[in-house]
Structure formats: C-alpha cells, structure tokens
C-alpha cells in the first residue's frame, strides 16, 4: 500500500470510529424532542384539563 493510500485508509478509519460514536447523539435528540412534547402536554393539563 502506498503512503497516500495508507494515509487515506487511516483517515477513513478514524472517521468511521468518530461517526459510529456520533450516532449516539440521536438518543439525546430523542430525549429533547420528547421533552418538548411533554412541555406541551403539561401546559394543556395545567390550563385546560
């Protein structure tokens, strides 16, 4: 493998590891989205239930 290919391979490997870890952010996004809906439901319950 040439130096150029080795360098590209290393960069791609690091990128893959970073991207794999990054997908865990979806859980945080989900929690935030649920919290926004919860606020709406609580407002409804407090003022109009």
């Amino acid at each position: 493998m040439s130096d150029q290919h080795e360098s590209a391979f290393d960069a791609a490997q690091q990128e893959l590891e970073k991207d794999t870890r990054g997908e865990r952010r979806l859980i945080a996004y989900f929690v935030v989205a649920l919290a926004v809906v919860a606020v709406l439901v609580v407002l409804h319950q407090v003022f109009y239930a």
Partner: protein
C-alpha cells in the same frame, strides 16, 4: 322494528362509517410517529459495525444536458474529493447539449487527463435514464469499474462524502449506498428553505429509520453508489419505462437480496427550485413515478419475504400513507363534518383527539428532525415554526387549548361569537386540511402575476408546505386518471449551489 328503530340503526351505522373515515386521517400521523420513534434506534442498529475503510475503483457517471453553467464546477469538486485520484474516473455523458457544455467538458478533459472522459450522444432529450445508460454501457465494456456513482451535473460532493459511502461495501451484502442531498443554494428564498427543511426531515431523519427497518424507499438520484455486482444483477442498466428510475433501481436492488444503506454523513449539496411552478413540475414527475412503482410492485406490498424487507407492514404503511395522504385528508374531513351533523358532541371529542395527536406528532417530528441537521434548521427557523402552515397551527391550538381561539381571543377584543358563528368556525376548522390544498394551488396560480411575489409566499406560509406537496400529489392522481402524457421534464439548474 319500527321506523324509529330503523332510523336509530341507520344513525349508528352512519356514525361508525364517519369514525372509520376520520380514522384514515390518523394513519399518516401514526406512520410519521412510528418512523420518528425508530430514529434513536439508529444509535445501535446501524451499518457502521459492518463497515470499514474501502477504496474501490469508482466510475462516476455524470449526465449533462445544457449544463454549461454548472458542469465545470461539479467536475472540479469531484477532483477535490478526499479519495485516491487514480481510483476515480469521471464519465461525462453530454446528452446532445446545445449550449457550451461540450467546450466546458473538453477543457476539463484537458485539465484532468485520464480522469475525465467525454461521452457525447448525438441524439438526446430522451431523459436522464437513457443518458445514464449510454454512459453505463461504455463503463461496463471493461473491468476497471468496481463501483458506479450516479449523480446529477449540478450537485456538489463534500470532500469526505465518497469515502463515507464506499466504506459500506466492506459488507458484501450491500448493493448500493445513498448519500444525504442537502439543499445548498447560495441565494435561498422561502421555497428553497422549505425544501431544505423537508430534505432534513426526509433524509437524515426518516432514512435513518429506514436503515433500522432494513428497507430503503429510494436512492437519491444525484448521489447513489452501486457495486459492479449489483449493477449487473439489476440488468446492467437503469429502468427507462417510468419517471421513477431511482425508486425502481432501489427496489430491484433489494428484491435481488442486496441491502441499500443510507449514509447520513455523506453530504451532497444541490440547488432546488425557487419557484412553485418549477417545484410543481419536479414533484409531479416524482409523484407520477411513484404511482407506476406502486402498481409495478403490487405483489410486494404487505407480503413479508426472507429476501428483503420491502413487504413488511411498517414499510407498507409508511409508503402508502405518504402516497395516499391527500385522499386520507379529504376522507377524514368528510367524516368529521358528517359526524358534526350526526352527533356534534362526539365530533368535538374525535376532532380534539385527532388534532392533539397530530399536534404532538408534529412537534415531536420537527423537534427531533431539525436536530439531525442543525445547520439547515438554523437557516430555516421561520419555516420550522410555520412548516404545517399558520392556519393549521391555529387549528392545533383550537384542539389543544379549547376556548382559546373561540372564546378568549375574541374576548380580548370584546367580541362574543354567536352559536351560528361558532358552528361556521367549527365547520371551517374541520374542512381546512383539504381546503389548504386549494390554497396551495392558488399560490401556484398567483405566482406569475404582479402580486405573486408577495401573495404566493404568504399563501404557502398560511396553507403550509405539506399542503403544497399534497396538492401536487393530488394533481398526479388527476394526471394519471386522464392518462396524461408522462414526459421527462428536466428541472432547470443554473449553478446556485454555494461552492
């Protein structure tokens, strides 16, 4: 039984029918909720565990018809991809252009010797699929190509995008990989911001869910990468019999037992229509294509298979709820208004339940979806807030906070609505959703007029971008019913992508 008994039975049957009608409006809401509830599972159920760095020899087929304004920049950006240059070849298929496209391509062939190949068709105008096939036939004549990238002439690949796609080919089951097409116009207007937001919701959000469910609905036309084996397995060419060649390629790949992966972090910028008329033409072509796909694969829907996941119930529900959304909206409203006349109290309960569910789903979908591409979401914050349309937001408020719109707000101005006015308001609220499609159609009609500059955006903000898309889908039903000629109508691109 007496006549009164019969009337009672008929009334009950009528109420049940109305409830069934109303429930059809809940199906798309449930499908959206299901799709977005699945997204966080992509944290664990994704293809990254099977991926590893791979650098196959990639042939890029670039169809071009009068793309002189954009083709040069596209080739330059492809040559800047972070990918070994000797493993890339760009085959530009000039579809008998009449502008300066041939000269621009020739200059790029000279600039990048051995990397750019000019393939010119003498007879063009048959559509993108024919143009692609011309290039694919040339590419398949030797064994150099290991992977084929199909793209559009106007799109800009971010430097890391290709290698993020090829890494999935470490898994031999993968036949094709699709990238995220991000709206990238430098001079955005209200419509491109709406399209950008739509793409966020439908790609980095919804297609992650399709990754989890193991079935992809459509490879992006401007960013799809196939293995050589997959291309040969689906016949070595792109389907030319319909306007939905990308969807057919996607389905054929999966029906042949290969996986299609959506890679949300491989980003490709594209310019999207700035006018309703251009968007209408583009989406009508897509919608009519989907009609033919639905008919063509009628044996696939709701028939689970060991080979693919296109026949699963969740995938079928999501597909049909989008395709039949305008009908669901109309049928639901008819049911609600009928119920109002049969049993008004029940109609109020049903309306509130339906719209509270819709409001919660809408808020959840947007709150989750916009986080998957915060860059676009920040640019389109006004469109995020008004995505369902300002009037639909008022309807949601009416359902969520009863009395607010009918009593308290008018009360602030010393106004008390009469029973007749309240009834008229209720009917208006119940029929709003199908009527919003008419408003979206009016926005299209108003666009070429002098007032259209401000009137069309105003009507779209009031009716909602979703209503515009539903109106286009409804138009596709009409065109199909009339068997109107299905023509390949190229969307005009003038090189607005921010480079």
């Amino acid at each position: 039984m007496t006549a009164d008994d019969w009337l009672g039975v008929l009334g009950s049957v009528g109420i049940v029918i109305c409830l069934v009608f109303v429930f059809t409006g809940a199906i798309p809401v449930l499908a959206a909720a299901l799709t977005f509830l699945v997204i966080p599972l992509h944290s664990f159920i994704n293809h990254y565990a099977q991926a590893s760095p791979r650098f196959p020899r990639v042939a890029i087929v670039l169809p071009a018809w009068n793309e002189g304004a954009v083709i040069g920049a596209s080739i330059d950006r492809l040559m800047q991809l972070e990918y070994p240059k000797e493993l890339l070849r760009i085959y530009v298929v000039d579809d008998a252009s009449t502008d300066d496209t041939p000269q621009v391509i020739d200059s790029k062939v000279a600039q990048y010797p051995g990397s750019v190949v000019n393939l010119r068709r003498n007879r063009g105008g048959e559509g993108k699929a024919h143009t692609l096939n011309f290039g694919i036939r040339e590419i398949l004549k030797d064994d150099w190509m290991q992977a084929l990238l199909i793209m559009d002439a106007d799109v800009i690949y971010l430097p890391h995008s290709l290698r993020r796609m090829t890494r999935h080919f470490a898994d031999p089951k993968v036949g094709a990989v699709s990238a995220y097409i991000r709206e990238g116009s430098a001079d955005k207007n209200y419509l491109t911001r709406f399209v950008g937001l739509e793409y966020v919701l439908s790609q980095p959000a919804a297609r992650r869910a399709q990754n989890v469910l193991g079935a992809q609905a459509c490879l992006a036309g401007g960013a799809q990468l196939h293995t050589r084996e997959n291309l040969l397995a689906i016949g070595g060419q792109i389907d030319t019999s319909s306007l939905a060649e990308d969807t057919i390629t996607t389905f054929e790949t999966q029906l042949n037992g290969r996986t299609v992966v959506f890679e949300p972090l491989a980003i490709v910028l594209a310019e999207e229509p700035q006018s309703i008329e251009a968007l209408w033409k583009q989406r009508l072509r897509w919608a009519r294509g989907n009609v033919s796909v639905t008919a063509r694969y009628k044996a696939v829907w709701f028939h689970p298979s060991r080979v693919h996941n296109l026949g699963t119930v969740p995938f079928g529900v999501v597909w049909f709820s989008l395709w039949l959304l305008p009908i669901a909206m109309i049928v639901s409203s008819v049911g609600l208004v009928s119920l109002l006349f049969l049993q008004s109290e029940l109609s109020t309960v049903v309306f509130r339940s339906l719209w509270i569910g819709a409001a919660c789903t809408y808020v959840f979908v947007l709150a989750l979806g916009v986080q998957t591409d915060s860059r676009i979401s920040k640019q389109a914050w006004r469109e995020v807030i008004t995505f369902p349309g300002i009037i639909s937001m008022i309807v949601m408020l009416t359902a969520f906070f009863p009395g607010l719109v009918e009593v308290q707000l008018p009360g602030l101005f010393g106004v008390t609505l009469s029973q007749q006015a309240l009834f008229a308001f209720t009917v208006s609220v119940y029929i709003w959703i199908p009527f919003s499609m008419v408003v979206a159609w009016l926005a299209r009609r108003a666009e070429p007029t002098r007032a259209g500059r401000w009137l069309s955006p105003t009507l779209i903000y009031l009716a909602g971008y979703g209503s515009l898309l539903c109106a286009i889908t409804f138009d596709s039903y009409i065109k199909e019913a009339r068997r109107a000629e299905a023509v390949w109508d190229k969307t005009e691109k003038i090189g607005r992508v921010a480079s």
